[in-house]
């Protein structure tokens, strides 16, 4: 993002709306801290500037990844889904991506609201790769892994994003190992992260995984996202 200084009146409307506090008014003009800015376009998209001084710059690699991971209006070419996520469990009744013996995880670095450097992703992806997790190929973050060891490509490590979601699945037998990695890294990151876990409901609608998580010191919050099984691969087909 860029603020045209000759047009800016210094009203500060853009500074108020910036989710990561990257805009400040000094000497009567709004200025963007380019290192803090995650290129989410919120200041531009919400049209808060009465002088129309905010413009979207044409971004080049590697800064472009900030926009891909931070701008809700930016659909990644692989996912086709607006934002930084994927279909994950949302279409699991159609795709069968997560089977009855699988557990899915979403570890989102930078959420809520603090943002993250892509270098911090490596803290997680190196031990997770050692564990042999299966990364979601449609997730744009997976494309930034440089190797099978979970290292992030060097040229994007310094980029700051609103958040980045590490999406993967493991056999349920590896639950304890994944939780141990999360526990170990909780005190080592310089930002916040959220953790979500995906599981199939039992045939009776039961969710025994909730008790298992509680026993291991990770009691789920009362919120959940539930796919109610109305999707089908074709109009006359069955649920995956």
């Amino acid at each position: 993002m860029k603020i045209k200084q000759d047009k800016c009146t210094g009203c500060g409307s853009c500074a108020v709306i910036c989710p990561v506090e990257a805009i400040h008014v000094a000497d009567g003009k709004a200025m963007i801290d380019k290192d803090a800015c995650v290129e989410c376009s919120t200041c531009y998209r919400t049209a808060v500037c009465p002088a129309r001084a905010i413009i979207q710059e044409r971004l080049k690699w590697p800064r472009l990844v900030r926009n891909i991971f931070s701008d809700v209006a930016s659909s990644h070419k692989i996912t086709g889904v607006p934002g930084r996520g994927t279909e994950e469990m949302k279409t699991n009744d159609v795709t069968g991506r997560f089977g009855p013996e699988d557990l899915g995880f979403s570890i989102e670095l930078g959420r809520p609201g603090l943002g993250a450097r892509l270098a911090s992703v490596e803290l997680f992806t190196v031990p997770l790769s050692r564990l042999g997790v299966e990364y979601e190929q449609a997730n744009p973050l997976t494309a930034l892994l440089a190797d099978g060891d979970g290292h992030i490509k060097d040229d994007v490590k310094g980029e700051r994003v609103l958040s980045a979601i590490i999406e993967f699945k493991v056999p349920s037998a590896k639950l304890t190992d994944v939780l141990a990695i999360i526990k170990e890294l909780e005190g080592k990151v310089d930002t916040v992260f959220t953790v979500g876990m995906i599981a199939r409901a039992g045939a009776d609608g039961g969710l025994p995984i909730i008790d298992v998580l509680s026993e291991r010191g990770f009691p789920p919050r009362p919120n959940a996202k539930v796919n109610v099984g109305l999707g089908r691969a074709s109009p006359g087909g069955g649920v995956a």
């Binding site: 809520p112 599981a199 959940a224």
Partner: protein
């Protein structure tokens, strides 16, 4: 959308906050006969059942997903029942209190297929804004709502006499998915306006 999952707040507040989405599966049922038309029909059902907020209709034709938020569990039940009857064959996901979703799906004659549980927030939580502010900012699934704007809207209500509904609508503007719950936001903003300034 993953992050309608991580909306914060106490149970009494969250029980007025349910997000539903209808989604086509890329490369599988997104080009099946009249896929787009079936997605539109899901959107029409969402709209018919009294949402608090809904994705702008201008986006319905260019997005593989339509999103909506309700502040009443009964409306969720009715919307789910209508979606079941419509038999659109596209994925429907409900996000909110698990106990409420279980009740709504059961009463609509549906069963849970897959769940995404929230295990919470970890790491440098001391860097986060106070919890009442977070309850508001986490209602945008892509986190486009700034804590600074929460403080500004509280000030407008408290000192400029701005109606709380107008302040909530102003706060909702960056959320293009239409899942920012303006009804719940109004209640939360009022609590903040009547409370102290610490951390705002």
């Amino acid at each position: 959308m993953t992050h309608s999952l991580h909306r914060t707040g106490d149970a009494s507040s969250l029980e007025r906050d349910y997000v539903i989405l209808a989604m086509l599966a890329k490369g599988i049922n997104d080009s099946a006969p009249a896929a787009s038309e079936r997605l539109m029909r899901a959107g029409a059902i969402f709209k018919k059942h009294g949402p608090v907020n809904i994705m702008m209709e201008s986006l319905w034709t260019i997005s593989p997903v339509i999103t909506v938020v309700y502040d009443d569990e009964n409306k969720v039940k009715q919307a789910l029942r209508a979606l079941k009857e419509a038999d659109l064959g596209i994925s429907i996901v409900v996000s909110g209190l698990l106990s409420g979703i279980q009740a709504a799906t059961r009463e609509a004659g549906l069963s849970m297929h897959t769940v995404h549980l929230s295990l919470g927030i970890f790491g440098c939580k001391d860097k986060l804004p106070r919890s009442e502010v977070l309850d508001l900012t986490t209602m945008c699934g892509h986190h486009c709502i700034s804590p600074a704007n929460v403080a500004i809207q509280v000030n407008r209500i408290r000192n400029l006499g701005v109606p709380v509904d107008a302040a909530a609508a102003e706060l909702a503007k960056p959320c293009i998915c239409g899942i920012f719950n303006t009804s719940r936001a109004a209640a939360l903003l009022m609590q903040l306006a009547e409370g102290d300034d610490k951390g705002l």
